[in-house]
Symmetry: C2
Subunit: 423 residues, 2 copies
């Protein structure tokens, strides 16, 4: 019914506003040896909403991290980058509701204070505590509220408490993003659980993407870092909602080493493949959940570019299509406007040959060697565009390289969420 | 059943939908010796709307041009680029309603055919005729309709007929964009008139920007090209509506040389300065009209970055702020959300020092050396944001270079125009 749809979609104060593409899947999340988690409402957010998550880790837990490329960052990002050098993590503390950004030197003092409280309560070293913040920029961190809540969190730490932990890091997410994978190393079962947040920002929050992965595998920190750098390229660096890059974006991977297999430390170790596959797969699932929960998203769009001369070129073309406002609004309007896709392909800054390009919308060929395919009908394109999940394939026919980027549409809801909503 | 909100704001068929910031100014446009113009409705557009413009030029008219960087272009762009080598223009033909893009080899044949008809009718050489197309992508050009209309156009050519010419190149513009400047060379009065189109695209048109400048000054084609390359940087390359880059973007400058002064041909000629100033100023005015008529725009925003180490860095930061969807939606919501500006500054890819940054909204200092200014109140920021014309100044305090970019906000109307409107 059109009217209801309009009401529910356009009012920024309507609870139904944020939409997700598809139905969220919350799997059973097993305990992972070496980790315990808890979350609480410490009072940063209103209405007793969970806003503080703590994960405690056993001694010897390896750690790797990838952080935002923004030049303006939260002191928590600076701190995490520095503490990665320790190659051991004993705790992760994440608060939501306040990003602790643009707070000057006090911001760092506050982050250090929170970290020290965790260290004291858990009996570990300060430098083994990793911290993230997400939420309002430029508001003083309620450091005392956070410190006051830490003893209670420590008391409530429990194995397998991942879903609550995931809820504690949410800001404007419409659902908790969690996923799990199982694999084996030397016949020993290993497990990886991941949680992520990110969808967008309701004033005055930022579109921070945070993701944390936990495994009982035994992998050195150096090797974890190498694997994480690869995984991020295929997952969190291959998604886009609005092209903006937050001050706090963080992805971390923790490996407790509790699984009884001989530790992995060598990049050439053949036992690495199933672990890397598990990691890549889990990261990709979490990244896709973020796009599905993109601000105002009503379509989940997979942009695949193939036939490029190299992967960089393929990624550049795919990213240009996936971030074009004109392409994204065409999806919002279920409009098979392939001229906009051509425009975006041509403006990617890659030396392409127009006469070679093929473009498919779903399985329907629209462009054949740079021209509208003779057999294409608008009805065929329309049928694909009416779906909630859409694939675009662009074949440059210039080489063998390919890349895939996931994006969502640019809707009225995106503007409502970011322009109309006032906190 | 459609809700009233939908009717009043969202209906793409509501006449009030396209908005412009400020009131369009249509100045008196004088005849310029050496030029005659006409426009007609040849039937590309519906409802007898003007869709074909012809400007005829006297022998010896110099010409310069700057074109889209998109790799997929209309054959008219290819043709213009090639014909610039002739260094002489006798005619300009522009059709609106069809972009003649993605039409394969036939597109070039059609463009050549239109050009030849103009050449034959005016008794000039084919290679002295410049052509542009703007409108639908991937639809065959109605070449015969255009050719059939050319004799009538030639018959109706008149001096000073600029406003009609400007109307003939419009697509989704809500008003004709024209401007005029007067100056002197050696005491001889010279005049420059400009016309431009561009604001956005209503399905399935592209956001093509076309602009043409005409002067009676006597300047060599080589020198015109040098001056135009500089002018475009400060004007059409310093505006952004949605960050997309069309297949047909064109800026051309024609100088008839009818003014009785010794011709300018030397870059070091001191008489050049007032001419260059006139050109830059006129180009900047036309560029700003395009932003003011940006799709769905309700705010005209000037982003100035100063204190940068070099101009490239200043431009990069200003462009990042001016194209950020988060910043642009904040303007749409009149939301003094300075955290988003910080985010954009930090993500521009420039080595900035957060502790040095000052940010002003209008005259109000919001950020002082990287932190919220102690004296800043939300009310002050809100007062500035409520205006239709807003200036942001970002002082990086790292050097002496500066750059200015003009942009507009990202509104519900932008999405309506680009997503909801179906032709």
């Amino acid at each position: 019914m059109v009217c209801c749809f309009t009401i529910s979609v356009l009012s920024p104060f309507d609870e139904a506003l944020p939409m997700a593409v598809g139905t969220p899947i919350i799997p059973e999340l097993p305990a992972i040896a070496g980790f315990r988690a808890a979350a609480t409402a410490c009072g940063i957010k209103k209405n007793e909403t969970l806003d503080l998550t703590l994960v405690a880790m056993q001694a010897g837990t390896s750690v790797a991290g990838v952080y935002t490329k923004n030049r303006i960052v939260s002191p928590t990002v600076t701190l995490c980058r520095d503490r990665l050098k320790e190659r051991e993590a004993r705790a992760l503390l994440v608060n939501s509701g306040n990003a602790n950004v643009s707070n000057g030197p006090q911001g760092m003092l506050d982050a250090l204070s929170n970290g020290k409280t965790v260290a004291d309560q858990l009996g570990v070293e300060d430098r083994q505590v990793f911290i993230s913040s997400t939420g309002v920029i430029g508001a003083a961190l309620p450091v005392h509220k956070i410190n006051a809540a830490i003893p209670g969190l420590v008391e409530n730490l429990q194995p397998g408490n991942w879903l609550q932990a995931a809820r504690g890091i949410m800001t404007t997410d419409t659902f908790a993003k969690v996923a799990v994978r199982h694999s084996q190393i030397d016949g020993t079962p290993i497990t990886m659980v991941g949680m992520a947040k990110g969808s967008g920002m309701i004033h005055p929050n930022m579109a921070t993407m945070l993701a944390y992965l936990f495994t009982d595998a035994a992998v050195s920190s150096e090797l974890l870092q190498t694997l994480l750098n690869r995984a991020v390229q295929l997952s969190f660096n291959s998604i886009t909602v609005d092209g903006d890059c937050s001050t706090n974006d963080t992805l971390m991977l923790f490996a407790s080493g509790a699984a009884p297999h001989t530790p992995l430390a060598d990049e050439d170790d053949p036992r690495l493949a199933p672990f890397a596959e598990m990691l890549n797969d889990l990261a990709m699932e979490l990244a896709q959940w973020i796009v599905r929960d993109g601000e105002g998203a009503s379509k989940f769009v997979t942009v695949q570019v193939r036939g490029a001369q190299d992967e960089t070129a393929a990624r550049q073309v795919a990213m240009k299509v996936a971030t074009s406002s004109l392409v994204k609004t065409a999806f919002a309007g279920s409009d098979p406007n392939w001229g906009r896709i051509c425009m975006a392909v041509g403006s990617a800054g890659i030396a392409i040959e127009e006469d070679l390009i093929d473009i498919f919308l779903g399985d329907v060929q629209i462009v054949n060697r740079g021209q509208r395919d003779a057999a294409y009908t608008e009805e065929q394109g329309q049928a694909v565009m009416n779906e909630a999940e859409i694939g675009i394939t662009i074949d440059l026919n210039q080489g063998e390289a390919q890349a895939t980027i996931w994006t969502c549409d640019l809707t009225h809801d995106y503007v409502s969420i970011n322009a109309d909503y006032r906190s």
